[in-house]
């Protein structure tokens, strides 16, 4: 039983079957990510004032990762054209670069994830003020406004800890290194704070530069505590779900390329046209995954 147009092109449509199939699949993927992006818009519009975090993600790292992914898209496109020209060795070298880029992207993403998992927010029973603790200056706009939650790394506490697990471990106080800026300050407020710092010369002490700048908090004063995990709030829930699903797509695409590159390479000898087509189809998918990231980066990191 032979199916027509598996690799040759049907004249009136100008396509072979797999290419239509891939475009249709991508259409459904657009609707999948479209649904998730809509969820992002819906939740963000509905968020209470000051609740949507700003500036929690590492923009230079995110930008670098964007570059890595774009590079991989370039090598995919180049590898396909070299394959069309019949240069299998050059195609293979280019695709190895693609796979290295994919691994680099996922590695950087995992590092970012880990960094978030060991970053905490502590909601307090007993509010503090920046007047008492100058190192919390980045947490409020006025020195005597009450600060109800502190964000930062906790000394000696790894990822995924919860209030219950700290109590179980018998900790009575935690030492938190506060971040220079609290996410509840809008980007505008953060800029204003920087201006004040510059004008007065008084800086919020940066945690990394002064180890005495941490804030000691009694565990009994903690109302709630959460690492930056999906459960933390709708922003991180959205961030992890969207980037996680995107990362799964990167893994899927990389596996498909690797399969075509090594175990599937026999087809290059038997049916080079079909082999080239399969690279083209997975390439379409790869470019789509790249495109999703191009949308994810600004909406999560920049806006």
């Amino acid at each position: 039983m032979k199916i027509p147009y598996t690799s040759e092109i049907r004249e009136d449509t100008g396509l072979y079957n797999a290419k239509i199939g891939m475009w249709l699949f991508l259409a459904s993927e657009v609707m999948l990510f479209g649904g998730l992006f809509s969820a992002y818009v819906f939740l963000r519009i509905g968020a209470r004032e000051g609740e949507w975090p700003h500036g929690l993600l590492n923009i230079p790292i995110g930008a670098f990762n964007t570059l890595v992914l774009i590079t991989s898209s370039l090598t995919v496109a180049l590898s396909w054209t070299t394959l069309k020209a019949g240069d299998f060795q050059r195609y293979r070298r280019l695709q190895i670069v693609t796979l290295v880029c994919a691994a680099l992207f996922l590695g950087i993403k995992s590092w970012e994830y880990y960094d978030k998992f060991s970053h905490y927010e502590i909601w307090l029973n007993k509010p503090l003020t920046a007047k008492e603790y100058p190192q919390l200056a980045g947490h409020s706009t006025e020195a005597d406004l009450p600060i109800t939650s502190v964000v930062g790394h906790i000394e000696g506490v790894g990822p995924f800890e919860t209030l219950a697990s700290l109590q179980e471990a018998g900790m009575s106080t935690v030492k938190i290194h506060p971040d220079a800026f609290h996410y509840r300050l809008t980007a505008l407020q953060q800029a204003e704070r920087r201006k004040v710092e510059k004008a007065t010369g008084v800086r919020a002490v940066h945690a990394e530069t002064d180890e005495h700048a941490n804030v000691s908090i009694d565990v009994s004063h903690i109302a709630r505590m959460s690492a930056f995990v999906p459960k933390h709030g709708t922003f991180f829930a959205t961030y992890f779900t969207l980037t996680g699903l995107h990362a799964l797509h990167v893994v899927g695409g990389a596996l498909a390329f690797a399969f075509i590159l090594w175990p599937g390479a026999r087809m290059w000898r038997d049916d080079p046209k079909r082999y080239t087509n399969s690279v083209e189809c997975v390439g379409l998918f790869w470019h789509f995954v790249d495109l999703v990231w191009i949308f994810l980066f600004p909406i999560l990191y920049l806006l």
Partner: protein
């Protein structure tokens, strides 16, 4: 084109890549699910008609299988909720959609476009083998702690998330399987229609059934992913403790919900769900319209009236069905502006639906109708769809919808579309194409028993629901409304309490459901006995039909067609009273027995004035 070597049993019937075998696999599996869905409803109707009474016959079995929720063989409120949620889920996602799309689409679309198989046969197999585990996970969820999902087939959070049962997680995972399965199926159908049409089969020569499957495939392709997104988010809510759908200040059973960040929106789920949910309604009904069209054209022996209107309408429905979803959400208190938009689009979408109905009605006009069993079912479809459609109009307008939405009226309304509508069309299709698939006819007498019995029962079930709903009976009540009835001691003299007449209808419906189940037995017997011992077909084209699926050997072998196919004309060339063409050998093979025929098959060369068939250049 036939397979040159014999395949083993497993490759031939279990993990087959042949679209016809996969179609029949889909058919048998989804019919089984329909039966399961009916059984659940039978038990629910018992509970509604006799609240708190142990279920007769199967009560003990129920208790031993499901434990506490079915204590003493009674259906508890929780179990009633589970059955209700699973009845909807099973009927729609595991029953009707795989039936009209997986079974009929798979079996017929490649045949009707003259293809040897689907464009991606292995993916086709994978599609079926994702549907099966999806269905099994759904069924297994009955037996997990807490029982199956209880929040309705729509699974609205926060309710769905706070009910303490793992069944909801199973529901979500099963849905991911089903969605992936239908995704692969829809890619396959669209690619097959676009790429594998035989030469000469232009878009306007496609049988209408192919058009409906084509549009259905697009709906599944584009509307299911947002629900997939919703399922992923709800899974995150359940497993990772996020709050996508959990709002601030959520109070559960009088206690503030703890351990939640809040900040989510229950409405978000409803939007994601109904973005699928409404196109899904058309998934349920478009392909049946296609089936009915084929059956009507064949049995009235006339070309379908307004083929182009039909095609235009089905495309219009496809587009419009994507912008009407929020009419399912009028009762959420949406703003008047948005409600007006969705009310307008909803009333607009009724126009193409009515155009289709009108075309089919007009097609009957002046025909010499053969009242075969498939035709009876097709005619019943028309009237049932008419009732279902007209009762839907008040739901399009927020003013009347708010009053009717949570009543039995809406249940009556959409069941008229899906039960005596879609399912009758499916029966029409089964009786119609059975001779092609098996080489044997189904028994006419049993077919009549099945049809008339089902027709009466369906109306006895669903028409009273319209009455109950208008009388104010709410849906989803596990006591069948007893607490709101005039018979309830505390309601003495209450104005608007459900009257005895309205309550008595519960009993009528209950018995009618039982009878409906009983009237399916002749069908089941007929189906299997005819498959092995029915009257053999006398030719490859026993109904004297025009479309390509009848131009294959019977049953079609792997690869379908034995000769080169070429299409010369529109799909419904019936009522040709002045055939100028001499009888050729190909015409005799069409079941003509040498008689002058009143029809021309699509692959029959166009007759020229001098009597020689012209080899016509096919427009592509």
């Amino acid at each position: 084109m036939t397979a040159s070597h014999e395949l083993g049993f497993v490759r031939k019937y279990i993990f087959s890549v042949d679209h016809k075998v996969i179609g029949i696999q889909y058919l048998l599996t989804s019919l089984t699910f329909l039966l399961i869905g009916l059984t659940l409803m039978l038990m629910m109707r018992w509970q509604i008609a006799n609240p708190g009474q142990p279920v007769p016959v199967v009560g003990g079995l129920l208790e031993s299988a499901l434990g506490e929720p079915a204590g003493e063989g009674k259906i508890s409120a929780d179990l009633y909720n589970s059955f209700g949620a699973m009845h909807g889920t099973i009927m729609i996602f595991l029953g009707v959609v795989p039936l009209v799309f997986g079974a009929f689409g798979n079996y017929l679309v490649p045949l009707q476009v003259g293809a040897g198989d689907m464009a991606f046969p292995k993916m086709n197999m994978l599609s079926y083998w994702l549907y099966v585990p999806g269905g099994l996970i759904m069924l297994v969820s009955f037996f997990v702690p807490g029982g199956a999902a209880q929040a309705g087939w729509t699974s609205y959070p926060p309710l769905a998330t706070i009910i303490p049962t793992d069944g909801q997680t199973y529901w979500l995972v099963a849905m991911l399987f089903i969605i992936t399965s239908s995704l692969l199926g829809s890619i396959n159908i669209i690619t097959t229609v676009i790429q594998l049409r035989v030469p000469g089969l232009t878009w306007m020569r496609l049988p209408f059934f192919v058009w409906t499957e084509f549009v259905t495939a697009f709906l599944l392709l584009l509307a299911f992913p947002p629900l997939e997104a919703g399922c992923i988010l709800q899974l995150m809510d359940r497993l990772a403790g996020t709050s996508f759908f959990m709002p601030h200040g959520l109070v559960v059973s009088g206690q503030p919900a703890t351990g939640l960040s809040g900040g989510g929106s229950p409405l978000l789920w409803q939007h994601l769900f109904w973005f699928l949910g409404h196109p899904e309604v058309y998934v349920l009904v478009l392909a049946p319209m296609g089936i009915v069209t084929e059956v009507i054209a064949n049995n009235t022996r006339k070309p379908i009236w307004g083929y182009r209107y039909l095609v235009g309408s089905v495309l219009a429905i496809g587009f419009l069905s994507m912008v009407v979803w929020a009419h399912h959400m009028f009762v959420t208190g949406m703003g008047a502006g948005i409600a007006t938009f969705f009310q307008t689009t909803t009333t607009i979408i009724s126009i193409p639906s009515v155009v289709i109905m009108t075309c089919l009605m007009l097609s009957l006009w002046g025909g010499s109708i053969r009242f075969t069993v498939p035709m009876l079912f097709a005619l019943a479809f028309l009237s049932a769809f008419g009732i279902g459609g007209l009762t839907g109009l008040p739901m399009a307008l927020p003013m009347s919808d708010v009053a009717l939405h949570d009543s039995y009226y809406i249940i009556g309304h959409f069941h008229y579309l899906v039960a005596p509508g879609t399912i009758f069309a499916v029966f029409a299709g089964i009786y119609y194409w059975f001779p092609k698939a098996t080489g044997r006819h189904m028994n006419q007498k049993l077919g009549h028993v099945h049809f008339w019995g089902s027709l009466v029962c369906m109306n006895l079930i669903f028409f009273p629901m319209l009455i109950q709903g208008l009388a104010g009976m709410e849906r989803r009540m596990s006591d069948g409304g007893y607490n709101y009835s005039a018979a309830h001691p505390s309601n003495e003299g209450v104005v608007g309490a459900l009257s005895g007449t309205v309550m008595q209808l519960n009993g009528v419906i209950g018995w009618a459901v039982l009878a409906l189940g009983a009237f399916q037995l002749p069908f089941i017997y007929n189906f299997f006995s005819s498959a092995f011992a029915g009257r053999r077909v006398e030719s490859d084209n026993p109904w004297q039909a025009t479309t390509l699926e009848w131009q294959t050997p019977t049953p079609p072998p792997h690869g379908n067609f034995v000769q080169e196919m070429f299409v010369y004309r529109e799909p419904y060339a019936y009522s040709l009273s002045h055939s100028t063409q001499p009888l050729t050998s190909t015409r005799k093979s069409n079941g003509s027995n040498g008689k002058i025929l009143d029809f021309e098959t699509q692959n029959q060369p166009v007759a020229m004035a001098n009597g020689n068939p012209a080899k016509q250049e096919a427009p592509v």
